[in-house]
């Protein structure tokens, strides 16, 4: 996985080549554009967000001076090329700021799904799983 992330940033042509090889072998490596969460999971995440996140990051997820925006250009600047697993671990370990880690694990996953939805990444048939290995295999990439 470390290799994959390094490739994404430094060796873009090579990663494209490797991806093609992978796909050609039918192993179906996840991309964030393949529908890695469900609409229902995102809906649950919206409820959690409105309870635990909204007062800092705003109703529109735009953030404020003390809390980063979670949508659009700002979000992609911070997370492009990193994995959903890293994002999940970040918020699970640090959020909400005064009770980090105290939400149920499924709530953190739901919030991640909601944020992905608000950033225009498509929903799919399967929920984001509670598997770091799987989450780490999903790169946040603005390019389809």
């Amino acid at each position: 996985m470390i290799v994959m992330r390094f490739c994404a940033r430094k060796l873009a042509p090579l990663v494209v080549l490797l991806s093609l090889v992978t796909v050609s072998h039918g192993q179906g490596a996840n991309t964030i554009w393949e529908g890695v969460y469900t609409d229902e999971q995102a809906s649950r995440g919206e409820v959690v967000y409105s309870q635990a996140c909204i007062s800092c990051h705003g109703q529109d997820l735009g953030g404020n001076s003390n809390s980063p925006g979670l949508v659009g250009m700002g979000f992609m600047f911070l997370w492009e090329g990193r994995t959903v697993g890293e994002f999940f671990e970040k918020i699970r370990s640090e959020m909400p700021t005064d009770r980090p880690g105290q939400l149920p694990q499924q709530d953190y996953l739901s919030v991640v799904a909601y944020i992905l939805q608000k950033n225009g990444f498509p929903a799919g048939e399967s929920e984001l799983p509670a598997s770091l290995e799987t989450l780490d295999s999903i790169e946040i990439d603005s390019a389809r």
Binding site: I54, G58, N64, P68, F77, P96, R99, Q102
Partner: protein
């Protein structure tokens, strides 16, 4: 103000105000009723605010000069080791606490999380009354009164910045507070019942308050924050009639295109001029009849992101305003065209030095500024030596950026301090007995990479920053420091360092003491002369807020608020750089100490 833009805005606010008041009367009147009526209460006058009795604490930093100094000396360097807890009172854990309590007639008035205000017997902590805003009703949320987007679920966590009310003001027989939904309110100091509430700005645009009001020459003055989003409006400070809440004046903290100084934003239209939040309460000089209020940096933080390398008036400035009409008598911009989130918004300490009426302040860079508070002229600047971003001309006060220190989008910058700053809202204190300033410092640096934002209405903001915090090379692994500087020379008298950062304002007393508390629950009393630790105690959670001293019936007390949440680094730097330290995530309280009976 552009009258074309102003008319609909004012009309809108008037409508919002009327609707809000009606709804507030209807719904917020359900707030917790008073527990007791305070019978012995003397109305607070302008004269009392300017020269409070020694045992009272009538303004957020003691007096309008904001020294953070108590003239009481019953507790002193000889006996401070005998201090013991007299009482403690739990505050709400539903939001952030950075309280600055007030003391009058033996009563403590304390701003708590989420708009709660409580009146406590200052001798024993008995609750006399509390004002508790009721959660907004569904009808209120759907009223279209302009607050819909800002209304949060009743149980929502009030996190960074939101929910904080640092200070309240006391005047006449009312307590004044500013809210997280951009309104100001007056509460009867005797009963805790709401008297009036005025919607000052539209919270759907992002506006809210963390700074509370001050009263200057009979006018209630408050500065707004939440000014980082792009909109057809700019940040401001307002003056109000304390009896009714009616707005008397409004002074913009950003130069509009057509205003003097409007060209300092290049050709950016009004909608892309953001920041200059007024998020820390000001000071007042009754002789000059001027209030001094700081403004924050421009938004987005980095020049390259906000699209101009102009000075961006009146960001990162000290403004001198006439409290009667809001006229800006002078301004001093500390860091023109600031570009790294190096805020200069903080407290203004008014000291006469060798007959010169001066104003002292320090921003995130750790430069102690001395200005002539009558004219705004630069007198002296003292760089305490922890920043690597700018050079300060000691003669003119002019700031120039060091080579390579103006950030470019996407390029990592190695800078000290981090965007957290070496100084933040944790106010410094001045002691006339030692002629020294005592400054809570946070030692830190950062690898910072600034990123872009959408330049569209509703966009903007501070701008994203990839942050990698690290210990300051001069810190020996410590995050915290109390720095004592001689005034006016700026020479270092002493430093006291701790692994944990200090997380409160400093308090000085005529007993030769400096009180402050750290993130790791330790409250300390230091010898103001040499920094020696004379007394320490561990409290429930992080010390956070503004300690005060007062006396009732001849007995001196020290009060320390503790709590969590709130802006600045409290949730980030200790977690990242001192991971072995931890604190309870609840336990907000006020803790009062005195000598044994």
């Amino acid at each position: 103000m552009n009258p074309i833009n102003a008319m609909p805005h004012r009309t809108y606010l008037r409508i919002v105000t009327i609707v809000s008041i009606l709804l507030l009367l209807a719904f917020f009147g359900l707030a917790t009723p008073s527990q007791a009526q305070i019978e012995e209460f003397t109305a607070v006058t302008d004269e009392m605010l300017v020269s409070p009795p020694p045992g009272e604490w009538l303004s957020w930093r003691g007096t309008p000069a904001a020294w953070g100094y108590s003239p009481l000396d019953q507790i002193n360097t000889d006996n401070v080791r005998q201090l013991q807890l007299k009482w403690s009172f739990a505050l709400d854990d539903t939001g952030a606490i950075q309280a600055a309590p007030l003391i009058h007639d033996g009563i403590m008035f304390i701003p708590s999380a989420r708009g709660v205000i409580q009146a406590l017997d200052a001798v024993n902590g008995e609750l006399l009354w509390e004002y508790r805003p009721a959660p907004p009703t569904e009808e209120f949320i759907n009223s279209g009164a302009g607050t819909r987007a800002a209304v949060l679920p009743a149980g929502a966590f009030a996190g960074v910045g939101r929910g904080v009310q640092k200070n309240i003001a006391l005047y006449g027989d009312m307590i004044f507070a500013a809210t997280e939904t951009a309104s100001i309110r007056a509460v009867d100091a005797r009963s805790g019942l709401l008297v009036w509430e005025t919607q000052v700005a539209d919270p759907t645009l992002g506006y809210f308050y963390t700074a509370g009001p001050i009263v200057a020459n009979g006018t209630l003055v408050t500065g707004i924050t939440g000014c980082d989003r792009y909109k057809e409006d700019v940040c401001f400070i307002t003056g109000h009639d304390p009896l009714t809440g009616e707005e008397k004046w409004r002074t913009a903290t950003i130069a509009r295109p057509e205003d003097p100084g409007g060209d300092t934003w290049g050709d950016l239209p009004l909608r892309f001029r953001a920041g200059s939040d007024a998020w820390v309460a000001g000071s007042y000089d009754p002789e000059a009849n001027l209030i001094y209020w700081g403004t924050a940096q421009a938004k987005p933080w980095a020049r390259a992101v906000r699209g101009t390398d102009g000075d961006a008036l009146y960001t990162n400035s000290t403004l001198a305003l006439n409290p009667d009409n809001g006229q800006m008598v002078w301004y001093y911009q500390h860091i023109p065209g600031e570009t790294q989130d190096m805020d200069e918004v903080f407290e203004n300490i008014l000291i006469d030095v060798d007959g010169r009426k001066s104003l002292f302040k320090m921003g995130k860079l750790g430069i102690l500024w001395q200005l002539d508070r009558e004219t705004g002229e630069f007198i002296k600047g003292t760089d305490i030596g922890y920043q690597n971003i700018v050079n300060l001309d000691p003669i003119t006060g002019k700031i120039t950026y060091r080579d390579g220190m103006i950030p470019r989008i996407g390029e990592e910058l190695n800078m000290c301090p981090s965007t957290s700053g070496v100084k933040s809202w944790r106010a410094m204190a001045y002691s006339p007995d030692t002629s020294a300033m005592y400054i809570p410092i946070t030692l830190n640096c950062e690898l910072a990479t600034f990123g872009p934002t959408e330049r569209q209405i509703g966009g903007g903001g501070a701008g994203p920053v990839r942050r990698i915090n690290y210990h300051h090379p001069q810190s020996d692994g410590n995050l915290g420091e109390i720095l004592a500087l001689d005034i006016p020379s700026g020479e270092v008298k002493w430093r006291y360092r701790s692994r944990a950062p200090f997380n409160t304002a400093a308090l000085t007393t005529a007993g030769g003491l400096v009180f402050a508390g750290d993130w790791n629950r330790t409250m300390s009393a230091l010898d103001a002369d040499n920094g020696e630790v004379l007394w320490q105690v561990r409290l429930a959670t992080s010390n956070q807020g503004f300690p005060i001293s007062y006396s009732v019936d001849g007995k001196q007390y020290i009060a320390m608020p503790v709590g969590t949440g709130g802006a600045s680094w409290s949730g980030s730097l200790p977690r990242e750089l001192t991971p072995e330290l931890s604190r309870p995530r609840n336990g907000s309280s006020i803790n009062v100490f005195a000598l044994p009976d």
